[in-house]
Symmetry: C3
Subunit: 155 residues, 3 copies
């Protein structure tokens, strides 16, 4: 079993089935040493987490949603790259939080994704990030996270 | 005539004049094998498509606006790269949709851009993507789309 | 003194102390010839500029906030790269403006960041850009700007 699959098992993490894109695009494009991962929505036990932080959802629900986005990013990478051991570095996460106007804890929400990357990849999971509030997301999702990942060549 | 120009002609597509930036930046930067394209606004017959999806504009108008953004991305790339035949892969589109709070069909809107890329570039047009809702865009535009494109060296 | 430090001195620019990330990520990741800089918030004399354009803040205050984000991007790059002389090109800025619904001058706001890059780096500061409105940002910030920068190898 690969190093990262071992790590996932030790952490008790089971990746979801890689979700099909909700439109005319692909989940991952690998070019020039980087994999660009499409914005992933939060599925928990197959159900989309919907609603707005600061209005419909508590902070902890947002954190869980962001973590679910990160698990889906890993699922998409595993499928596209063949193995998560090809991940050289999580370079950048872009986090969009469905937010009521007064909600300003987007960083705490997106930490749900960031901390998962650190737990799975250690130093290779230390990434740059942006986190912003938006008034609405596809299908009413609570969070959307995309990613840029540095990848090793196929062996 | 180049391959992609042939394709544009067969599809009946005429690229707009590459719009000047609306501020202190440039439309395209090519570095390290990638071209980063600035966020493009939707011009149809020289007029900016303004308004908010789910409030002022019907879905189909949003789709047309996103398609216009994609045509402008191609116009900017042609001007900056010298030829669209240098496009190796459309890597990533970032779609921002001017959205009323209850509007959740950002993926359908941005498909207007995505499907154009597929029609023009076939497999090289298959890209990663994010699509989010925003409450307002520059000059009141309905949609803004930026892009990361892998490019071949100049011959 | 390095070229860019000289330039900063001639322009009378003093970079702020590089701010610690407000959550579980790092300010800069350098991989494959590019540095990705996390979204930076506007600190002026150590105080965060908060509020919404078109409601709480005048345009000029937004411009100053965007400029402060750009200065923080430079502070983060200097710390991470060792020297700003390693900056080969400012490739892309991503600007998010805390905006009331009717505010459509995001490009003028983000010019505060763009014009600083041009002043500091001349042609190497000419970048691609996106600028969008958002309803809320981390900690109530007025502006957030992230960056992709092409970097020279360490000597």
């Amino acid at each position: 079993m690969s190093t990262i699959e071992n790590r996932l098992a030790r952490l008790g993490l089971i990746l979801p089935t890689a979700a099909a894109p909700v439109a005319a695009y692909v989940p991952v494009v690998e070019m020039g040493g980087f994999a660009h991962v499409s914005g992933q929505l939060p599925l928990i036990e197959g159900r989309l987490v919907t609603g707005r932080l600061g209005q419909d959802l508590a902070l902890e629900q947002g954190v869980e949603a962001a973590r679910a986005c990160a698990l889906m990013i890993l699922a998409q990478l595993r499928l596209a790259l063949g193995s998560l051991d090809r991940v050289e570095r999580i370079v950048k996460l872009g986090g969009f939080v469905n937010s009521a106007e007064g909600f300003v804890d987007q960083p705490k929400v997106i930490n749900g994704a960031s901390e998962l990357m650190l737990a799975v990849f250690d130093d290779a999971g230390r990434h740059a990030r942006s986190a912003v509030g938006v008034p609405t997301l596809p299908l009413g999702a609570a969070v959307e996270v995309d990613a840029i990942v540095a990848v090793r060549p196929r062996v």
